[in-house]
Amino acid sequence: MSERWQRVRHHPGAVAALFLLPAGFGFVVFYLWPALRALWMSFTDYNVLRGSGDWVGLQNYQDLAADPLFWHSMRVTALYVVLNIGVQTALALAMAVMMDRLTRSAVVRGVLVLPWLIPQVVVGLLWLWMLDPRLGVVNHALDWVGIGGQDFFGSPAQVIPTLAGVNTWRFVGYTALLIFAGLQMIPRHLYEAAALDGAGEWRTFWRVTLPLLRPVLALVLVLSVVGSFQVFDLVQVATGGIGGQPGGPANSSLVIYVYIFRHAFNFNNAGYAAAMSAVLAVLLAAVTFFIMRALRGSRSDLA
């Protein structure tokens, strides 16, 4: 082996480059380059079938600002996110605190996290059947208690709350486990001190648990808000009726991902779809920044 090769072999930069070669290739080809290309596409009338596009400047962004369906889909998505996050976070927090007080059992945690591991497509099909207006078991149960059957996925007013409910069912255990992990980091002696001072469970929760959980909650909120903004599989599978167009009935569940997807692959408007994705990316970055800032998520009171 030549001396020069020996030098290269032990140079830290060269070694690092060697180890980063495969991942770096994937990063450049499938993340960095496509991101730049998508940005360029958003200024063109790119068509996937034609495989090319011409520069149109800000046209896509102007169209988007004037597109009522885009704003509609943003509103639908926002409603979904708010319903989803509100219920999911509160429920997960309650579950995590209960687990923290009652049990370390891996079986309990395993059961609660199971739906998170199942493909979203399977979850969608499962609930499509459970919530079938005529044959589903949920409506039979509602009939039995005297409430009467609901349309769920078939009703413009109920479809978004239903989707949010199904998604909560899938993710609440996972979220609870994230919060549970955070609870484990709170030193026990703080609870004992609170108990000695005569604070009840309720007071301890608000004065000790919640403030110390803040960085974890910020992270959980970021993960779940950003994730639920991007809901796609569930809507694609569970809405629009059998054989219908996803996003239905009458576009009432047209979340932003479904709308972008439709433009890119059904209407061959990749340029327009790219512009919408770019707006979404900026929006999500802003939401993340806002949550971290509002909850001072990167600083812990424990330190």
Binding site: F30, M98, W129, A274
Partner: protein, 315 residues
């Protein structure tokens, strides 16, 4: 068992010296109430799974009678046989199946190929990257790491369209190579996840190996990989489950039946039956089979998955 309730501690084991002071009644009641809620939540999680099993073992005609008994009214294997292609065409029609059947075995094979390739590639490539980010010292290391990490903030659909175009340009649409490529080399999550573990590794063994003149490839293979066996296994399980559940990318890049994965196949199975009464029992049997590999993996390795969750979000 000992941790269930304070009251059983006291009554069921009277001989044990009462070391703990007796809890007030209100405390015990709230504990029992909390357990009741937790059990209820677990039941709410599991019951839907039971109900798809029950449906999968029912006949389509039984569903229309509105019978909601706990056990299927006329238990049958026919739906599983139909999905697996083991039933004759007459039996299929009699059971209410449609002409368009799910090519279950093919899609299952495709899902296995896709998830396996993604898992192997991702874990190997990301472990190497994690080693470079955690155990090597070089200029610009943290800047490059944060550049990698920043892609976590890019919505997948933003890069999905250009990636689709890229594959069609190089003629890799509807091939396994193309389907696997965007996940094979790295995902930002996996690099981040493994880096956390590599950072926590003690450097004693590493130093000793270096004293003996081992180069970095040897240290990585002979020291890090064995020491990191547990986290690497966890990473592989997570990668496998995520690949198995993937839907949007295979939907656009692998729509051809020869590479179509199970999630895409299941969604097509549903939309392939316009207006006709859906074949619920067949669909639920297919759904059970589609979720089965993940559930089996979970039964075998559940504890590892559950324990890994604290690392997915937190430092």
């Amino acid at each position: 068992m000992t941790s269930t309730t304070a009251s059983t501690d006291r009554q069921a084991v009277p001989r044990r010296p009462a070391r703990k002071p007796r809890r007030p009644l209100r405390f015990r009641l709230s504990r029992i109430a909390a357990w009741a809620v937790l059990v209820l939540l677990m039941a709410g999680t599991l019951l839907p799974f039971y109900w798809i099993l029950r449906t999968a073992f029912s006949t389509n005609s039984a569903l229309f009678t509105g019978d909601q008994s706990v056990l299927p009214p006329e238990p049958t294997w026919i739906n599983f046989q139909r999905v697996l292609g083991l039933a004759s065409p007459e039996e299929v029609r009699a059971a209410g199946g449609s002409g368009a059947e799910l090519q279950f075995w093919l899609y299952l094979r495709n899902s296995v190929v896709f998830a396996t390739l993604v898992t192997v590639g991702q874990v190997v490539c990301c472990a190497m990257a994690a080693y470079a980010f955690a155990r090597l010292h070089w200029r610009g290391r943290d800047a490059v790491f944060y550049l990698f990490l920043s892609t976590l903030m890019v919505p997948p659909i933003f890069v999905l369209i250009p990636n689709f175009v890229l594959l069609s340009e190089v003629g890799l649409l509807d091939t396994f190579a193309g389907l696997v490529a965007p996940y094979f080399f790295m995902t930002p999550f996996m690099v981040f996840f493994l880096r956390q573990f590599f950072l926590g590794m003690s450097s004693e063994l590493e130093d000793a190996a270096r004293m003996d003149g081992a180069g970095h490839p040897r240290i990585f293979l002979r020291i890090c990989v064995p020491v990191m066996a547990a986290p690497l296994t966890t990473a592989a399980i997570l990668a496998y489950v995520m690949a198995w559940n993937e839907f949007m990318w295979p939907l656009v890049a692998g729509s051809d039946p020869s590479v179509r994965v199970l999630t895409v196949g299941l969604s097509a199975f549903r939309s392939g039956q316009p207006q006709a009464a859906p074949d619920w029992t067949g669909l639920m049997a297919a759904t059970v089979l589609g979720a089965l590999p993940v559930i089996l993996l979970f039964l075998a390795m559940g504890r590892r998955i559950v324990d890994s969750i604290r690392f997915t979000g937190l430092k």
